[in-house]
Structure formats: structure tokens, C-alpha cells
Symmetry: C2
Subunit: 330 residues, 2 copies
Amino acid sequence: MTAQYDVAAIGNAIVDVIAQADDAFLDAESLAKGSMMLIDEDRAHQLYGRMGPGLETSGGSAGNTVAGVASLGGNAAYVGKVAKDQLGEVFGHDMRSIGVHFATAPLASGPATARSLINVTGDGQRTMCTFLGASTELTADDVDPAVIEASAILYLEGYLFDPVEARRAFAKASAIARTSERLISLTLSDAFVVERHRDALLGFIDTQVDIVFGNEVELASLFQTDDFDAAAKAMGERARIAAITRGEAGSVVLSGGQAIAVPASPVQKVVDTTGAGDQYAAGFLLGLARGRPLDVCGRLGSLAAAEVISHYGPRPQTSLRELAAAAGLM
Amino acid sequence: MTAQYDVAAIGNAIVDVIAQADDAFLDAESLAKGSMMLIDEDRAHQLYGRMGPGLETSGGSAGNTVAGVASLGGNAAYVGKVAKDQLGEVFGHDMRSIGVHFATAPLASGPATARSLINVTGDGQRTMCTFLGASTELTADDVDPAVIEASAILYLEGYLFDPVEARRAFAKASAIARTSERLISLTLSDAFVVERHRDALLGFIDTQVDIVFGNEVELASLFQTDDFDAAAKAMGERARIAAITRGEAGSVVLSGGQAIAVPASPVQKVVDTTGAGDQYAAGFLLGLARGRPLDVCGRLGSLAAAEVISHYGPRPQTSLRELAAAAGLM
């Protein structure tokens, strides 16, 4: 069956607040560089009050990925919960303006639209503190079966293993994708997510998932080993396809007992690594949905990641389709 | 009397929504490239719905200028009206987080925080459509005499000649500055503002203003001539100091019958010209408040403008103080 959408993604719908910071600020606020920490509304207000001036821009891991798919010329759909407020309006606008199908009803009352307070240090590393707000109010009812059935690949955020209702939405979407003979992909999202939900994630990977995305830290957490080769071997034995990102070292794509090393794309200056993994997934997924070989999928991922880390903000600011065409990948 | 603040500014408190656009989009929306057009809320919703994905960031001409003063290491205060909503909170945060004194009470009920929908074309030009919202609710009561008395230079936006109440706020602030022996500066803001309020602006310049900022288009509108030299001569005869920006050609500082030509600072690539004039004013004003010669004031203006046009967004993203120090201007 041909697919109307290349990718349908379910994730936490989040607006990013990006500010510059130095290491001393991270230390003073007890923030571990490079991590994603969940915070409550009080802490969000307190931390925001101490941060530098911000750039606000739509974010959320899976939201960034579908934005990347759209920038590559793909068709995408997104499911995620915002509130009926100004930041929710911004999030919805930014999805629809790039042609992403986004029809999840905003939360009429309750917590505000989620925001992630992102402090970017001079080395380009991002440290995220996320107030999940309305995004955790996503339920199985928000999953439109017709959208999942119409999408070549379902993409799920590991972050959504935290709220119980969202896991029900995952289960529903996965069941629909499976019966519609669609592919199911999952990103591990964050080493702490893996720490909190290791067994559930492994069970999900074993029974449901076709493609797993993660970085080497998440992989190490999943298999509780610092030995990358051992962790990659374990991953390769469980997942049909796994794509593991390694920063400057590129990525490794594991499939059918093979490991394909994919180089990183060159970047003049790393400004802000926010969204690097999300864009890697975007490139990889679009390649896969369009039937490209796995090494090309990985290179599309590298290309998309390189664009996004060259500027502030987690979504492409240059047409990825044009960049991919110029690189001979499309 | 020593001044607690280098600059106190009064302006329309606006959040910018920056999106990329092409010339065809401007044509289809009947937008004149490089202009600032006022729009109502309905048109704002309509236009926003048609624009590409956005970056949200605090803006407003005078707000950008005080942000530049702060980035140069100066002390600044700001008076402007936001609503009690999420974008208003963002605006207030962005002021206070850079150390700008901002104590104007937000509007409790009524229109939302002002926003400027800015379409940036590939040539770096910005075309602005501004919904003024809460910003026009500024009144004379919002002007704290103690702040104006404590500021070496009062800076006023020509944009505020539109709302009648805001002009009363101007008059009040100017009277306080005058009796406190402070300097009064004014930016012409926009050629259409000049068109609408030519006589009032000229009267204000003749009787109150020490320093006038404008670009060559605004100057041409003010004196109704396309002959730059003639317009500059007319300006030089009326204003104690005038600084006229000319884009790539730099600026001309007029004072005491003299005209000082100041070169533009080199820019690798012009990304977004939003805020160029505002940052020029920031550099110039800080130089003046710190007693620098006029040519150095102009060069500080050029330096600040060059930083801001090299990236999206109307406020500095690099420490202007460090750039100025490296250039031997501080």
C-alpha cells in the first residue's frame, strides 16, 4: 500500500527557549552539561528568571524530526499536545507552515504549553531543562488511526515512556502500524529515560520496533556497558535496524549482523547541538521511507544533523532537500 | 550630576516573529520590501498563517537599542507596555536578564503583547508587519520621573508619534530630561512615520531634541528631497547632532556645521538587517554617554550594526563590549 505520509511521529510538543550560558552558570544551577532534566513549573520560572535572553522556537524531539522530514521534501504527520495559549499557537503554526499534518486538539484548560529551557555553552553543547506542561496530557484518543495507517513509518519518542497515558497512545499507534504493515521506529531519547525504563524499552524493541535510534551514551545505558562494540553487538542482535550516533565520529548502522560506519558531515563551526539526533533521524527515516540503501540513509542523517548544529535552534534553517541534492544524496 | 543609566528609552514593546520568505511571497501579500507596516489583529492572524516557521525573539526598536547598550557594558532603562501574557513575559525576561531596568506594569486586560511579523528575504532585507496590541496602551503615568532624571540620555522612538497617549508620555519624559539637564535623542524610525508626522517631528527636533537618528530614506522623507546632501545640510542646521545611516555606505554624523563620514564595519554575510539602525543607535549613544568623540560614537554604531545583521534577530548575540574592545573602541 502506498503511503500518504513518509513519517508519522508522536512526541512531546515543546517550545524551546534557547539562551547562551557558561559553565559556571551550569555549575551554579547544578545542571549536568548535555543532559535533559525534567523540571516542574516553579523550577521552570526560577531557572528562566536566571537565564540570559532567549530565542523561542518550536522544538520537541519528534517535532524536530518531522520538520526535518518536511525540509527534505517528505510528507509527515505529527501527534502531540499543546495548550490553548500563545506558545501553543506558535507550535501549531510552525508545524502547519511547513506542511506537516498536525491535528491534535490543544488542551482547553490545565497546564501551559511545554517548554524546554536550553542553555547552550560556547562549545555548542546544549543542556535542557524541560517543563512538560500540557504535553503529558496526550492520550490514546489523540491518535488518529487513519494517520498511522497512511504513514510508511511510525516514529516514537522514548521520552513518552514517562507519562502513563502517552504509553497507551504508543501502544495504540504501534498496534495500528503493525496491522497496517507499516514500520515502527523508536528513539531512545535520553540516557536517563533509558535508565528509568530499561526493561520496558527492551521489551518494546524486542516485540514491536523495526528501527531504533540512539546515541552511544543511551546505548551504553541500555546495555549497561561502556564497551561500545559490545553494546552495538547486543543492539544489533535485538533490532532489525539500529542507527547509533557518535557525534563527530559519525554513526554506525546495524542491520542483519552487519555494521555500516557512516562519517559525520563537515561543519564549519558547531554553534548549538540541539536537535542533532532529531535531524539525523529525519534524514535516516526519509531515506528509508523512500527505499534508499542504509548507508545512504545514514548519510542523509549526517547531512541533516550537520545543518542543524551550525546555528541556534533545533530545526533546519536551510532547505535540506537542496543540500541533499547538492550532495548527490537525493 | 552623574547618571545611574547611560540611556533610558521609551518605545513600543514588541516581540518579533522572524520567518524566511521570498520575493514572490512579499508580492502576493502586497508587502513593500524593507518597509514597516502597521496591521490589525485579523490581518496579523491571516499573515502569520501564511508565513513560514518562525523564530520568536524580543524586539521593538528602542528595546533593541537598550539591549545593545547593555551588551556594550552600559546601563540602561526601558519604558514600554506589554500584556500579561506569555509573549509579554518573554519580553520582560529578555530585558531583565541583560540587566536593563524595566518596571512598566503589564496591561492586565485588553489587547495581547505586540508582535512584529518579519519576513526576511534571501538578500537579508526585512519586511515588517506590526500588530501594536498592548504597546499602544502606554501612558504618561508609565514614565517614572526618577528613571528619566537618572539617565544621561533619553531615547525616544518616532514610532510612538502614532498613539496620542504615548506622545503625552514623550512630552512628560522630555520635560523631565530637559529640567534635569539630560540629553534627548530621537529616532525617526520609519519613512512612513515621518510622512505621517513630519511637522510634529520637525517641531520636536527644533525645540527638544539634542541627537537625531535616521536613515537616508527617512531623512529624504523628512525634508522631502532625494538629494542626500541637501537633506543632510537641512538636518545639520536644525539638530545639534544628527547621525544618518546609509547601509553599506556607513553613516554621516552631522554636528556644528561639520559632517563626519563613518565607514560601515565589514560583515561576512548579511543574514537579516532587522535591528541594524537600532544597534547603530546603541553604539552611538553609549559612546556619547561615555564622552567619546563623535567619530568614535559612529564607529561604535557601525560595529554594533555589523554584529546584528550577521544573524537572525534584532539584538546582539555576541558581547558587543568584547567586540568593541577588540576593535580598540573601548
